[in-house]
Subunit: 170 residues, 2 copies
Amino acid sequence: MAHAAPSPAKSTTSLTLANQASLPVVSAVDQVDTSYLQTLLGYNARRAALTIIEGFLERMAEFGLRPVDFSVMSVIQHNPGVTSRQLCAALNLLPPNLVGLVQSLEARGLIHRQPHPTDGRAVGLHPTSKGSALMQKAEQAATDLEVARSARLTSAQRKTLLELLQKIYL
Amino acid sequence: MAHAAPSPAKSTTSLTLANQASLPVVSAVDQVDTSYLQTLLGYNARRAALTIIEGFLERMAEFGLRPVDFSVMSVIQHNPGVTSRQLCAALNLLPPNLVGLVQSLEARGLIHRQPHPTDGRAVGLHPTSKGSALMQKAEQAATDLEVARSARLTSAQRKTLLELLQKIYL
DNA sequence: TATTGTTATACTCTATAACTATA
DNA sequence: TATAGTTATAGAGTATAACAATA
């Protein structure tokens, strides 16, 4: 496969010392070979995720939502009454990091908190009408962005990619 | 597709106030529905990447290499003489963030820096024999980890996943 | 004038320990 | 005793501006 033996890559420039016919003492690289890294799932998944998120950040700036804000709002939108603890479990977040995030969303009037009907320790998170309307637009924009982002993928390939990624983390 | 209409999810617990027959005032959620997020490439790619990197961190602790250290060392290993600038371009890193990283690798005796043969501004990065030996073990471990990680994928599926991810970011 | 490498620095993200109120 | 939410804080990761040396 692409494993690429530890070859000295494409050396162009070469020696400077007194060995015109032997191996180069100091080599230069004109084209960087990353073929080994490209065999690793982690490397590729991370590079792909960062590329997608880059575009997501730009598109979602209009709504004042970073990726995590979007995820949290989306889960609240589709699960009104969800608790912080449930959000953390579903999105793999740590409770302390969710606190400020939820406070911020509440301060913006996008969500409101209501006592949990059965558990006095818990607090249910609900979208406000303002938050719900915002998320309808934001989710539509995200879905539109998906289509544009995966322009180099067929619809079937995109579906396959989603399924394979979910096999990794679910 | 899985878009999942903004249904109020599976409400279990219900009202507490004086409307026994109408809609619940305060709802609770027993199973969190993330089906919308699962339609987004960015969400899935990020979740998958973090899951893989989690295992990577544990496995590579033995070598004292975080993911970025591993990537940088791997590129140097396969491209002796590569410059910092080339590393940044290849791995999508920012030059200021690479400085400390390279200094650390040099302090550990894993790489050494030699003047670039043709460009007096640049410095070529080369693996030491110690660094080269370490990376041979580390890359073998990473490849082994890949196999274990993708236990739920067939070899063909793993190949497909790599190709599709590369279509996103390359 | 442009580029390589660097410094300083700020900002965000992520992680851990410990506390309270309730179950 | 265990869990939900919170506070404080530390550490890692990522970002921009500006500078010296060389092309």
